[in-house]
Symmetry: D2
Subunit: 299 residues, 4 copies
C-alpha cells in the first residue's frame, strides 16, 4: 500500500493524522517537534528527516502549518517538498495562510507536474479529534477534488468544493474576518446593554431571536454566565486565542490590500485584536476575552 505524507503534527494536525491512521492509511510524517514525531513512530508511522524525504516517498501529502513562511519553507525551502516531488503528486495544504502564497506555491507545483491545493479547516480541536472538520477546498477541477475528498473525508465530515485553487483560503479568511468583527461587536453590545441596566441573559435572549442574531452571541457569547461550558465560563481558557485571531485578521488585511477591497470593520477588529494579542493580560486567552477588555473600563 502506498504511503501518505503528513507534515505538521500540532494541535490540529496530530489529531488529523491519527484519523488517517484509524482509517487504515500508512503514514510517513514530519514535524519540527521531535517528541511528537517519536510518538507517531511508536504508533507505526515512518519518520522523515526533512519534508523532501516525504515527497520522495509519497504522492499524497497533507500539510497543516502555522503560517505563510512555514508553508514557503516546507514546500520551497532547501530540503523542501519541491526538491524531490514526483509528477502526479497531490499536496493538500490545510494551513490558513495568505492567498497570494497559496497561489504562488500552486504555480510552482504545476511547473513540477504536481498539484498543490488549499483545504483550510474549521471546527477546532474537537472537530480534528472527532473527524468532524469542515474542509474548504480550492482544488481547481472536479477530478482533483474527488482525489482530495477521498483523503480529507477520513478527517472531516464536510468537504466543500469551492472551485479554483485559492478559494478555500479565501473562504476561510473571509469567515474568520467576519467572526472577529462579530465577537468584538457582541462584546461591546453586551457591555453597553448591561451598562444600560439589562440582565445579560435577557439581552442575549432578545438578540438571539432578533436581527442581531449570530454565532458569537447564540453559541459563543463572551459574557460569563450566559452560556455554559464554553471558554468564557472557564476564565477564557482554551478556545481560539487572541493571537490566532489577530493573525487571521492580518491575513484578511493583506488580502484587502492586494484586492483593494475596503474593509473598515475588519481593519478595526484587526487593530483591537492586535492590542489584545500583545497584552500579557489577554494574549493567552480565548478571543471572547475582548469582552473583559471593554468591560474592565467600567467603574
Amino acid at each position: 500500500m502506498s504511503l501518505t505524507g503528513f507534515i505538521g503534527l500540532g494541535n490540529m494536525g496530530g489529531h488529523m493524522a491519527r484519523n488517517l491512521l484509524k482509517n487504515g492509511k500508512k503514514l510517513i510524517v514530519y514535524d519540527v517537534n521531535k517528541t511528537v514525531v517519536e510518538q507517531f513512530k511508536a504508533e507505526g508511522c515512518q519518520v522523515a528527516t526533512h519534508p523532501a524525504d516525504i515527497a520522495a516517498a509519497s504522492k499524497e501529502i497533507v500539510t497543516v502549518l502555522p503560517s505563510s513562511p512555514h508553508v514557503k519553507a516546507v514546500y520551497q525551502g532547501d530540503n523542501g517538498i519541491f526538491k524531490t516531488i514526483q509528477p502526479g503528486t497531490l499536496c493538500m495544504d490545510s494551513s490558513t495562510i495568505d492567498q497570494i502564497v497559496t497561489l504562488e506555491v500552486a504555480q510552482a507545483a504545476a511547473l513540477l507536474k504536481a498539484e498543490y491545493i488549499d483545504a483550510p479547516i474549521s471546527g477546532g480541536v474537537t472537530g480534528a479529534q472527532q473527524a468532524t472538520l469542515t474542509f474548504m477546498v480550492g482544488a481547481g477541477n472536479d477530478a482533483t477534488f474527488a482525489r482530495a475528498e477521498a483523503v480529507l473525508s477520513l478527517m472531516g465530515k464536510n468537504i466543500v468544493n469551492l472551485g479554483a485553487v485559492g478559494n478555500g483560503t479565501a473562504a476561510k479568511i473571509c469567515n474568520n474576518m467576519l467572526l472577529g468583527i462579530q465577537m468584538v461587536a457582541v462584546a461591546e453590545t453586551m457591555n453597553l446593554g448591561i451598562s444600560m441596566g439589562l440582565d445579560a441573559k435577557a439581552l442575549a435572549g432578545i438578540i438571539n431571536t432578533s436581527s442581531g442574531r449570530c454565532w458569537s452571541s447564540d453559541t459563543y457569547n463572551p459574557v460569563p454566565g450566559v452560556i455554559p461550558n464554553i471558554p468564557c465560563a472557564k476564565g477564557y481558557a482554551g478556545g481560539f486565542g487572541t493571537s490566532l485571531m489577530a493573525k487571521d485578521l492580518s491575513l484578511a488585511q493583506n488580502a484587502s490590500t492586494n484586492t483593494q477591497a475596503p474593509t473598515p470593520m475588519g481593519s478595526l477588529a484587526h487593530q483591537i485584536y492586535r492590542i489584545l494579542a500583545r497584552d500579557p493580560t489577554y494574549q493567552a486567552k480565548d478571543f471572547g476575552v475582548v469582552y473583559q477588555f471593554l468591560k474592565k473600563q467600567n467603574v
Copy 2:
C-alpha cells in the same frame, strides 16, 4: 366600552392601530398627517385635535413616534398628553428613542400618578401588518406588564418582559447597533471574498454554516442573487432605510456616551451609515446598500 388612545399612524403605527380595531378596540387617534387621520375617522375611530384630547378621553394610550423630540412634544408639549392625563393612565410608547428621554418622561408621568412604559418593536412593516411584532417591554413591575400585555398582544406575538422601565429601549438599541455593525461587516466580507475570486452564493454558504453565521448573512444577505425577495433583490427598495439605521446608531452612541461604555465598532458603523444617509445615491435605500457603497469602489 372605554377608548384606547393611539398617536402616530405612520408606516408601523397605522397597521398596529388597525390590528387593535380588528380585535374590537374602540380608538381615539391623533397624527400630524390629516389625510391618514381622515381614513381612520372613516373606519369609525374618534379623532383628536391634540394629544391632550386623547389623554382627556382615554386611560390606555399607545404612541409610535419617529424620534426623541417627537416623544417629548407629544407627552410634555403645550397640548401634550401630560396636560390632561388622568391618574391611573397607562401610556405604552413603542417609539425607538434615547433611553434618557424614556426615563425622563416616565418620571414625569409618575409625578402625575400615571405610568409611561417603553415597548419598542421589531418585526418591520410586515410584522406590524400581520400582528407578529416582538415588543421589548420595560414595564417596571409585573402588574403593569400584564396590563400592557393585554393590549400589545393584539398587535404582536412576542411580548417580552424585560423588567425596569427603560429596558425595552435598551434592548432595542443594543440589537440594532449589533445589526448595523453586522450588515457593514457582511457587506465588506462578501465584497472581499468576491474580489478574491469566490462565488457569492458559495461564500454565503460557507459563512452560514460556520462561525460567521448571522442574520445579515443568512436571512438578509446584501449581495443581489444570494437570497430572493428581499430588498437587495429589488434595487434595495423598501426594507430598513440607511437613515433609520443612522438614527438608531446615533441612539447607541448617545447611550455609550452616557454610560461611558466603549463601542468602537458601533461608532464606526454609525459614521458609515451617516455617510450613506446623506448621500443622494444611498439615502432612500435599504441599509443593505452599504454593499454597493463598498463594491462600487472596485474597478
Copy 3:
C-alpha cells in the same frame, strides 16, 4: 464700583478670578467648594449662597464650569442665575459644553432681556495663571463683543471675535477634536517608527520638518526623551487628563450627531480616550499617555 459675578473657582476659574481682582475688579463669587470660597472671602470678595444671589447683585457675570449639566443648573436651576437676572446683564460662559446647551441658555437669557455669550478658553492652567489665555468668543454682535472683551482681556491676551453665539464653543470643540485625533496619531506613528528601528528623536526631527508636522509632535511629543519639561517627561503627571479629552471628544460626537457631519477619526479617538479614561492605569494621566497604552503592547 459695580460688582462682577464669578461662578466656578476651580483649577482654571480660580486663577482667572484672581486676575480680575489684580486688575481692580470687585467680585462676588460662588463655588460648591466652600474652602475655596473662604479663601476668596479672605481676599476681599463678597460671597454668594446661590448663583441667584450673584445675578441679583451683578450685571456682569463670568462662569467657568465643568460640563453641560452644571451650566444648566447654574443658569436654569432652582436657585440659578435666571431666577434673579437683571435686564441688560452680560453672562460670559467660559465652560466647554455642548453647543446645543449654549444655544438654549442664550435663548432663555434673551427672553429675560439679558445676554449669555460663550467664551471658552485655551491655554491651560499656566495661561489662566499668567492671564495669557485665548478666549474664543461667540458674542453675536460687535457691541456685546466689545463689552465682553473689556472683562476677558483682564484674564487673557487673545480675545477672538467669532461672531454668532455658539461659535466660540464650536471652535473650541473642533480644535480639541483635532487635537485628540492628532495625539493618538502621533503616538501610534512614533511607536510604529521605533518598532521599525528608528530613534525617537530622529523620527520626531523628520516629522517636525515635514508634512506630518503638528503641535502634538513638535511641542507636546508623547514619547519621553524627545521634549523636556512636558508631562510625558514626568510620568504623564499634570497636563490635560485623558478624562477631559474623552469629555471634549464626546462633545464633538454630540455635535456631529446633531449636525449629521461625519467624523470617522473623531469618533475613533473618542472611543480610544474613553477606554483610557476608564482604565485605572491611565485615567489620571496626561492625554499623551496614549503612547504608553499602545507601546505597552510591544514585546
Copy 4:
C-alpha cells in the same frame, strides 16, 4: 569621467536626473517609457536596454520607482541590476516601498559586494524640479552616507542621515501615515465646524494658533478659499493623489502587521483613502479631496 546610472524617469525621477545633468554628471538611463528615454538621449545621455546594462556600465546608481514589485524587478529580475552589478557599486533607491523589501534587496546586494541604501524623498514635484528635496537616508554607516550625500545633494538640499539601512524608508512611511491621518482629521474637523456655523477661515485661524495646528491645516488646508494656490483652490488638480496616499498608507499597514505595532488611526485612514482611490469622482484628485467626500454628504 565615470557614468552615473539612473532608473525611473517619471514625475519625480525625470527632474532629479536633469538636476544631476545640470551639475555635470554623465548619465546612463533606463525607463519603460521609451519616449522619455529618447528625450534624455537627445540631451546627451547614454541609454540602456535593461537595468542590467546600467549596472555593467556604472558603479553609482539612482533608482526612483513606483512600488515594491518594481524595485524587486529592477534589482532582482531577469535583466536586473544584480545580474551584472560590480563590487563596490552604490545603489541609492529613492522609491517609497515596503521596508521588508528594502532590507531584502540590501541583503542581496551585500552578498554581491555592493551596497543598496534607501533614500526616499519628500518635497514633491516642485522640490524635484528645484533640487530642494529632502532625502531620508538609511546608509548603514557614515562613509556610505558621505558617498551618497555627494550625489543626493545635487538633487536636494536636506540630506538626512538616519543610520541603518531601512531607516529612510521607515521615516518616510511614518511621516506619510501621520499626514494621511491628519488630512482626514482636518477635513472632518473643518466640515464639522462649518456645519456648526463657523466661517472656514475663522476656524482655520483658531486651529492654526492652537493645539490643533498642523501642516494639513496651516499649509494645505483642504477647504477651498482658506489658502490660495494649492490644489484645493484648483479643483484638487495636481498635488498628491488619493491613490498615492492609499499606497503609502498600505505600506504603513504592512509595516504595522510586520512589527505588530497597533495603528488604529492609520488603518482607518487607509480604509478611507482606499475608498476614495477607487471612486471615479475622487481617484485622480489631490488627497485633500477627502473634504469634498465628507462635505458632499451634507444637505
